[in-house]
Amino acid sequence: MNGPGEFICRVSAQVSLASDSYLLKLEAPTLAWTTSPGQFAMLQCGEGLDPFLRRPLSIHQVERKRGVVYFLYQVRGQGTRWLAKRSKGDMIPLLGPLGRGFTVNPAGGKGLLVGAGMGVAPLLLLASELANQQWEVVTLMGAQTASGILRPDAFMDYGEVRTATDDGSSGMKGTILDLLNKELDDSSYDMIFACGPLPVLKGVQSISIDQGIPAELSLEERMACGVGACLGCTCGGADGEYLRVCQEGPVFKAGEVDIDG
């Protein structure tokens, strides 16, 4: 049957990166084969009932032949703190793949990826899938300082990478939206794919509309069920109805959502 599965996955590695962020590698063959870019999984981040809810994490990258899935995440609270302490051999229950991901048009094109801070998490699998479909990929990464630019080397496998930091310690001094505006002045693109904090997504949304470049935005919201049942993770839709981030999203077309950034 189509739909998510529940898997108990063995940790094959966990690497600590800068800025309290981690790269978790799990043995999850079914997930590796069935997921598409922009989808996520709900990871159980504790052994008992506290923390009670699973944590929604974007699928960062997969190695299908090896049956492994990578998650890139930042420690933000009790659950992710527990997750960061897992090491090789530990088991983690997860539910996935979940949600609607990015659109990868097999006709190819030129795609601009915009990842603000931890927003790069779902973009690496997207970059690799786009590259597979003969897309030309450029990735823009933004953070406060150079240490917040996560895994630029991994993105370079699929195309050029440009960065922006608030203090100028990596790339352009300025915000990712400054970098995006500059990039669009210099080159033309068929599609923008963005993930990051709401103010950044709101900025990308208005640039997309102003310049007539289609964009897809990956949103983050607190979630309980992850499968569309509880209606806890809604965001405002363009027509005034609430949309479920876990089901209609997490990736939305720029015109579908009313971002209250």
């Binding site: 049957m1 189509n2 739909g3 998510p4 599965g5 529940e6 159980q44 009932l49 506290d50 923390p51 009670f52 809810l53 699973r54 229950p93 539910l95 919201e221 607190r222 979630m223 309980a224 069920c225 992850g226 499968v227 569309g228 049942a229 509880c230 209606l231 806890g232 993770c233 809604t234 965001c235 405002g236 005034g240 109805e241 609430y242």
Partner: protein, 303 residues
């Protein structure tokens, strides 16, 4: 295999494990994870006469061993539910109970009328939702008002009427007696407890609705106590709920006097929670030589 079956006010279930309203969608959301037909019964999301957009986000916030929610009864309205969602739910071959949340007595009666003859086997009267401004809990905290709603619905429908009560009252037993006296066929205990969480960095409430309903294992002892008291005061069956995650949790409610149990928040911690609970109830019966699970209802206080 022990006999786990229950006849809840005429609703025949193969086991006492139901889904709690608002936590299980139409069931199809979980259909790739486990065999939904294994459940005793499904309870719908709270339905209103007209479509409701629900509350402004954020709608949920995790709390110690539980969560707060203020979804605000988002639903397509009873008419769209009957045409678009119900067929899917009935397809699982499990009794489906409709949770209805009117903002007036007339709305409850109208929904009861619309739902009869649709394949629904029972109505759960929601006079306990803490997240709406009219109706909801406002109708379920004063015994006379609650009784009036129940009496009107019972008069309208031939379906079994289950009344879901709020624990946010001074005396839940008095409320239970009032609705039982008004003709309720069964009770659901308990809806969520009202509460709030404040974000200390923003210095603002986390929930868009400020206040929400607390559920999960954190409230389980409150639910068990409510069932224990009410079961000894009324003669109608009780569906116990409040943070049930395991067979042992379900047994606490059953021993306190619940004939059936509902699983809600537990699905968020473990999407397979209902299967686990059914399996563990059977294991408990086998281990303790219990032929029929219903023999344990209220056993913690019965002589």
């Amino acid at each position: 295999m022990a006999d786990l079956s229950v006849n809840l006010a005429g609703i025949k279930m193969k086991n006492p494990v139901m889904s709690a309203s608002g936590t299980f969608g139409s069931g199809s959301e979980y259909a790739s994870l486990f065999d939904i037909s294994k459940m005793g019964a499904l309870v719908t999301k709270g339905l209103t006469l007209r479509p409701r957009a629900g509350n402004k986000p954020p709608r949920i916030c995790e709390t110690p061993a539980g969560l707060l929610n203020a979804v605000g009864l988002q639903n397509p309205g009873v008419e769209a539910f009957i045409s678009d969602v119900l067929p899917e739910m009935l397809g699982f071959g499990v009794p489906v109970i409709a949770n209805i949340a009117g903002s007036t007595t007339d709305e409850f009666v109208e929904m009861a009328r619309q739902l009869s003859g649709t394949g629904i086997v029972g109505l759960e009267i929601n006079i306990s939702c803490p997240n709406v401004k009219t109706g909801g809990m406002a109708l379920g905290t004063v015994p006379e008002v609650a009784a009036q709603v129940v009496e009107a619905v019972v008069k309208e429908t031939d379906l079994p009427v289950i009344v879901k009560l709020t624990p946010n009252v001074t005396n839940i037993v008095e409320l239970a007696r009032a609705v039982a006296g008004a003709g309720a066929d069964a009770l659901s205990l308990i809806n969520t407890l009202v509460g709030m969480v404040i974000d200390v960095e923003q210095r603002k409430p986390v929930l868009g609705n400020v206040v929400g309903g607390l559920s999960g294992p954190a409230i389980r002892p409150v639910g068990v106590w409510a069932v224990w008291q009410v079961a000894q005061a009324v003669d109608i069956p009780i569906v116990g709920m409040g943070g049930i995650c395991t067979g042992q949790d379900a047994l606490e409610f059953i021993l306190a006097g619940a004939s059936a149990v509902a699983v809600g928040s537990a699905f968020f911690n473990n999407p397979m929670a209902a299967v686990r609970i059914i399996t563990e109830l059977d294991e408990y019966c086998t281990k303790h030589g219990v032929d029929k699970l219903q023999d344990l209802v209220g056993a913690a206080w019965k002589e």
